[in-house]
């Protein structure tokens, strides 16, 4: 399935999020991830939405987003040089003797230890999504006890 990252500037109102999510659910479109937070202007929020779908669906999504009264601007990040990050917290089973090995692996990815328990270690990692995916798949064999992903945030390298 194709995914596309769309950055949406919206009015920072209550109800805006439900309008956006309703737009997707009523048409049966899938959101892979959605993040939202205030911008440099406190009356404006920025959403980073990763959408699943073919070109026609994405085109409709962008048009329908633009049509919502609370949406100020929709930026399709498809053909732009983009800075993207995702943040995760991950608790890994250390078993009996794996602690050093796991910490070494985490070091390679630049993940930081945030908590050490008797049989687990919790890391934080902020990185581009594919790097996060790589880290998760390498760590998975040790046993992931808990994983939290924020979803992607992204911005164009220069302001459009």
């Amino acid at each position: 399935m194709n995914t596309r990252t769309i950055s949406v500037l919206v009015e920072n109102h209550s109800g805006t999020l439900s309008r956006i999510s309703g737009l997707f659910s009523s048409r049966g479109y899938n959101i892979a991830s959605l993040t939202v937070g205030e911008t440099e202007d406190p009356t404006v929020s920025r959403m980073t939405i990763v959408v699943e779908g073919d070109d026609q669906i994405i085109e409709q999504v962008i048009k329908q987003l633009n049509k919502l009264i609370d949406v100020i601007k929709v930026i399709d990040l498809k053909d732009l040089p983009v800075i993207e990050r995702e943040f995760i917290l991950i608790r890994v089973d250390t078993g009996k003797n794996n602690r050093h090995e796991i910490i070494e692996l985490a070091d390679l990815f630049g993940a930081k230890v945030v908590y050490v328990g008797s049989s687990s270690i919790t890391f934080e990692l902020s990185a581009p999504c594919d790097k996060i995916n790589d880290f998760i798949s390498l760590i998975r064999p040790y046993g992931i006890k808990e994983l939290i992903r924020t979803g992607k945030v992204a911005m164009a390298q220069t302001k459009k």
Partner: protein, 580 residues
């Protein structure tokens, strides 16, 4: 009473209505709406029409808007009052009708507590409104009202709901003033077409061999009929109008080829399928129009003029989109297009037309519904009246056999297909046009969905002429059951419902039809007439139309008459069935 500085929320609302030029509102009170109705009590500049059901208030506001071009306003209380508006709001939404729906709400401290008569109207109405508001702070109320009216009637019009908790309508705002100007940074509809796109469209049209103009409701909401007329006559090209577009171009003009789609004329459907260029104006390629999308207009390049960019290439791939207001774009287009001479294509169209767009077999024994509509047209075509319909067979026959000559004279629920729409919409249309005569054509099924409005019509002496085409069935569903479901008339006979074990068909049925519409009308003090034979049709119509005020005319018609031509759902437009 001590002097109150400032204005109450409800008074702000009333003042805003006046500033927005609202002269009539349709509504029904209830606990949380009492402050609003109280503020309306002494306001002589606004006529409040009390309907008998909130759904009818919404439809009446919608009919008012379609007939006048102004924004319709309806008011209901919280909870059940508000949810009763839902069908009416959705109807307006699907047909892009400007409306402001005002609902009472429980006081803000009670929001979300399952308080008495509480319903989350902002949540419920979100997918059926262009935008909606919950007023949580009286300071925001004036700007919300201004925004609501602006959003409702600008761009692609649509309904806007304002949910007003009763502590807001009772609260007081000091230093109130109604905003004069409005600018919403996130909402800037495109009004003028891009000159490059218009040029490209003109280039394509100039080289077209088989052009077809295909126009919809957008032409009516943009008041672009005159510009459309100029385009059609300049290009000397056939024009088809969607159900929503009927009246945007004179129905008797030789270039008019009828409505397209499922029950459209064969001429319109063949023309679309054979066209090399389709100029679509304010139409959205609804599935009832396109038939099977994959085989729609296979040879055509499509120019799509629409104010809503999201409509472009939503269903049918468009070659040249022009986003903007139809009136502005057509003006520009007309300036640069040359006059086109008639061609082989025009002859081909005439051949398909073969003298008439729609035909049926009349009878001397039973009343054919098409005959009622034809006769109605004959008797009223010079009278400049407005027709509303409900939904079903009678709606299609009206669209086929009444030749609408002017915009805003045909009012019907197109997208939503709402049974029960016609009579309340006729009330709204008539009042909006200063008690003008409006004919509401209904079926015996549809009319019963808002039959309580006979009271509103009678009490307010609204000159609505109610025509009931009584075939004793939910005719359109019965037609589908006859054609595609082995004649299994499940729950479509209004004589028997589901109670008859051995049905031998309508001609053997001894059951009495309930209700007796004539007696019903009498109880509402509305003069009523019934025709049972073809010879009575004209007399009954004349009698009903000539009296002042409302009248009800019932026509007992051939029970199993079908609407033809028909393109079965999912088939391409050239797979037309012209009879069974």
């Amino acid at each position: 009473m001590e002097d109150i500085l400032g204005k109450k929320g409800a008074e702000i609302l009333v003042d805003a209505l006046i500033q927005e030029g609202v002269d009539i509102i349709f509504g029904y009170p209830g606990g949380q709406a009492i402050p609003i109705f109280d503020a309306l009590y002494d306001e002589k500049r606004i006529k409040v029409v009390l309907t008998r059901h909130e759904q009818a208030a919404a439809h009446a506001a919608d009919g008012y808007a379609r007939a006048t071009g102004k924004t319709g306003v309806c008011i209901a209380t919280s909870g059940p009052g508000a949810t009763n508006l839902v069908t009416g709001i959705a109807t307006a939404y699907l047909d892009s009708i400007p409306m402001v729906a005002i609902t009472g709400q429980v006081p803000t401290p009670y929001l979300g507590t399952d308080a008495f008569q509480e319903a989350d109207m902002v949540g419920i109405s979100r997918p059926i409104t262009k935008h909606n508001f919950l007023v949580k702070d009286i300071k925001e109320f004036p700007i919300i009202l201004k925004q609501a009216f602006y959003i409702a009637h600008s761009g692609r019009p649509g309904p806007v709901l304002i949910d007003i908790p009763s502590d807001i309508s009772r609260g007081i705002l000091e230093d109130y003033s109604y905003p004069k100007e409005i600018s919403i940074r996130s909402y800037k509809p495109t009004v003028y077409g891009h000159p490059k796109q218009i040029e490209k469209a003109a280039e394509l049209i100039k080289n077209a061999q088989k052009p077809v103009i295909f126009a919809g409701g957008g032409v009516i909401s943009s008041n672009a009929s005159q510009e459309l007329f100029e385009l059609v006559t300049k290009l000397n090209a056939p024009i088809t109008l969607t159900l929503m577009g009927l009246g945007a171009f004179p129905g008797e003009h030789p270039l008019f080829i009828g409505m397209p789609g499922m029950h459209g004329s064969k001429t319109a459907n063949m023309a679309l399928q054979q066209a090399d260029v389709i100029i679509s104006i304010g139409a959205r390629f609804d599935d009832r129009v396109t038939g099977h999308v994959g085989s729609f207009a296979p040879k055509a390049k499509i120019i799509h003029i629409d104010i809503d960019p999201a409509t472009i290439s939503k269903i049918v791939r468009v070659d040249i989109p022009v986003v903007g207001d139809a009136k502005n774009i057509l003006k520009e287009l007309n300036k640069i297009l040359p006059i086109r001479e008639g061609s082989e294509w025009n002859k081909q169209i005439e051949q398909w037309k073969n003298g008439s767009l729609f035909t049926y077999r009349n009878s001397e024994k039973v009343i054919k519904p098409q005959f009622v509509i034809e006769t109605l047209y004959k008797l009223t075509k010079d009278k400049d009246i407005v027709i509303t319909t409900d939904v079903g067979q009678h709606q299609m026959w009206t669209a086929q056999y009444y030749r609408f000559l002017k915009p805003r004279t045909f009012i019907s629920s197109g997208g939503m297909g709402t049974m029960g729409y016609g009579m309340p919409a006729a009330m709204g249309a008539s009042l909006g046009l200063g008690y003008k005569q409006v004919v509401s054509v209904s079926g015996d099924g549809s009319i019963q969905m808002n039959i309580q409005e006979l009271a509103t019509i009678s009490i307010n002496k609204i000159p609505v002429k109610i025509i009931i085409i009584n075939n004793t069935y939910l005719g359109m569903v019965r037609q589908w059951q006859e054609m595609f479901w082995n004649k299994r008339y499940s729950s479509t006979c209004l004589r028997g419902g589901t109670l008859c074990i051995e049905c031998k068909g309508p001609s053997h049925c001894k059951k009495k039809y309930i209700p007796d519409f004539i007696k019903l009308a009498e109880s509402y003090n509305i003069p009523s007439f019934r025709a049972e034979k073809p010879q009575d049709v004209e007399r009954v119509l004349l009698e009903g139309l000539k009296i002042e005020g409302p009248a009800l005319m019932e026509f007992i018609v051939a029970p199993e008459e079908n609407v033809f031509p028909m393109v079965p759902a999912g088939k391409s437009l050239d797979q037309v069935m012209e009879e069974l």
